[in-house]
Amino acid sequence: MALTAIGTVIALGLTACGGGGGTPAGTGGGTAAAGAKDAFNASLTSVWNPSTKKGGTVKMANPGTWDSLDPGDTYYGYSFNFIRLYGRALLMFKSAPGKDGNTLVPDLAESLGQASDDNKTWTYKLRTGVKYEDGTPVTSKDVAYAVSRAFDKEVLPHGPSYLNELLNWPKDYKGAFKEPDRDISSAIETPDDQTIVFHLKQPFGSFDYIVQMPMTMPVPKDKDTGTKYQEHVMSTGPYMFDTNEIGKSFSLKRNPNWDPATDPNRPALPDRYEVALNVNADDIDNRLISGDLQVEVSGVGMGQAALTRVLNDPALKERTDNPQLQRLWYVSIPPEVKPFDNIECRKAVQFAVDRTSVQRAWGGPLAGGDIATGMIPPSMDGYKQIALYDTPEGKGDVTKAKAALQACGQPNGFETNISYRAERPKEKAYAEALQQSLAKVGIKLTLKPFPQGDYFSLYAGKPAYVQENNIGLAVNGWGSDYPETYGFMQAIVDSRTIRDAGNYNLSVKIPEVDQLIDQIKGEADAAKRTELWSQVDQRVMEEAVTMPGVYARSLLMRGKGLTNVFVSDSQQMYDYVGLGVQ
């Protein structure tokens, strides 16, 4: 805890405390890191190689590419992390190691949201003096415009749709592109240039978590080029785009109109960020090891080829961190697919599975993750160990499984199919591990791979297809949008999210769970929300409609020459706002 606190202070650069502790963020000078000793997991709960030295270039590479650099059109976790370098949302997660990084702090706003008594109206006051890269002052109208343009999912399809669903938009509203002059005061008001008021359809106690997302980063209406805006985003953060070749590379340089006095959250140490896109993943790992590259920006962790090398070399392993992610790999068990309409058959599967083989399939404890017993990952509120389907050493219990099969009326087992995404070898290994486990009790699984691009829209996420094709088990995975349990759980356990196709919740249709979620939405007391989420998790597991696999982990490597490296729990990867260069 003490380490966390010290790390936080250093990361934020609020006070000088020796040993590389900082001067106030954004001021010149600073001290160079003397060099830190490498150690496994050294940056999980504290800052590794703290420094306030400014200058240098951070070299990053991405095995894929951004969905979009437009703050209103992006939904990748690493993008939410990185975008804070060139954009400022109303709030942000504190740039701090470990759990402290889960704390919301004001960014463009002066303070956290002021909620009305019924949690239906949320007001934010903007800081004065915040400017775009061209020197134009940021106003609350720019934030309102940003939110209303992001409403149009036909034009900007990638971003989250929380604000579309939560705010009280006028009837049949189509967004700022199609209805630029529509009165949206039922959803957003800007009584003056520094104030923005959000009106919600129903009470929502966690609204602050929503407005920390990039869609509240201001966009000047006269500079908005619609789908082309990602080619030149108007920066409000410490960095602005220098070059930008979509799909190939981009670089950031310092934004001369960023005033550190308006921004206590960003130390802005490097002079420059260079990001290469669509780089071979194995090549990225090798370059990280050799020191030619400093950050794998997508934060997915090292690939299998490098893992073997790193884990067998103590010197390399000391350069790595193994954070637990707010991501769960699991199997959905649709209760409408026979014989899983009988809860005992679902329980038979839960008891039969060798969970250690599942963990191995995902890459073992370091690269794969920890064996999961419920749907809520350990770092989120509401998590608890659920012992409903515990078996000796986690290796499965054939006796209990057979008893459940007997109760289900299938004493000799049955045949069913398991779907997974064909392009994902670990999902295939997961399905094979389940196939072997369940075969021991007579449940014969046939593997059904489907293309990942259509997995949810045409196959596993389409209830009609699932039923017609007897998909009794469907490999599934889910990550948190923000480190609050609502953001993680609602999409995968609320039955009211289920549509004709494109579902992520494939199997949880429990009215009691839906009621609990409604109760949580209106509950302002965080402790009570936590308790209610535990009840939700317990109920889902009692119904046995999902079978948790692993709470995911990744293995990250600290690039050579970096300073101020730490993993923030909110980002679940290195926090890019804090980084510096030696």
């Binding site: 669509n278 090798n286 259509d454």
Partner: protein, 337 residues
Amino acid sequence: MTTYIIRRLIGAVIMLLIVSMVTFAIFFLVPRLAGATPESLASRYAGRTATAETQKLIADRLGFNDPLVVQYGRFVKGLVAGSEFDTGASIEQCPAPCFGYSYITQQPVWPDLVDRSRVTLSLAVGAAAIWVFAGVAAGVVSALRRGSFFDRAAMGIALAGVSLPVFFTGMISLVFFSYSLGLTAPGGTYVDFTVNPAQWAYSLILPWITLAFLFAAGYARLTRAGMLETMNEDYVRTARAKGLPERTVVVKHGLRGALTPIVTIFGLDFGLLLGGAVLTESTFSLNGLGKYAIDAITNNDLPKVMGVTLLAAVFVVVANLIVDLLYAVVDPRVRLS
């Protein structure tokens, strides 16, 4: 000769039309036959939070509800006369030749293809120079010294070159030469020729050698076999009997005779390579056409996949045309009438 060229050009255009139809059918007809609806096709461009209504709007806007013939006609018209695309917020121009418009990256495909072609062309030209020189030279020397240590070693290495996939030799050479010895550039550090020719060569030398290693092997074996055959021909004996120097006999008589199949295969190989050296570009993170195609396939970005496919077909057709014309130079027996 002119008639021949015109005839071949018309043939090439027809071939490209057929390729475009087949490609279009694969991407737009086959999914429909497999049960895909306009909305499910649109879902690829609609993001993960899209409602059914949004998917329908996008399907309408992208014209997925129109008959396939209309969609194909629109595509061909774009190729010759340019096109306009409604992004929902604005109308984007796609000047001719419009190879499509990516709704994922919100960019016309053609400028991307031109940009990526530079990388692929750089890779292909350098590698081709190495493999043709090394492969043909090794094949000639092996044939002339049949059964020698050089012959056996060269053919052994050639066999290894053919057998080892680029992603294996590429990764091994990257780890050894770039990351351990620091002699060559790491992957993903391509510098354009116009920016710095020396850096351009430095960034490409390892991909050139890796790719050339794969191709040189085949050329060495082909040249060796051809040379062994031609060097036993009567006209070679006659040339020697006339008292011509051995170098002239080998180069002007032996090699020239053995060159015809090599030119043929080179045309095909080079044409295919210009369409994208998928494995080499992926291994070395070169943003050429091959990597562009792979990334497009991964993202289900159909307009890009179609664009690369068509451009690759153009390269192959043109390369073959050039090869046919070169036959006349290499082999005087060929008459282009």
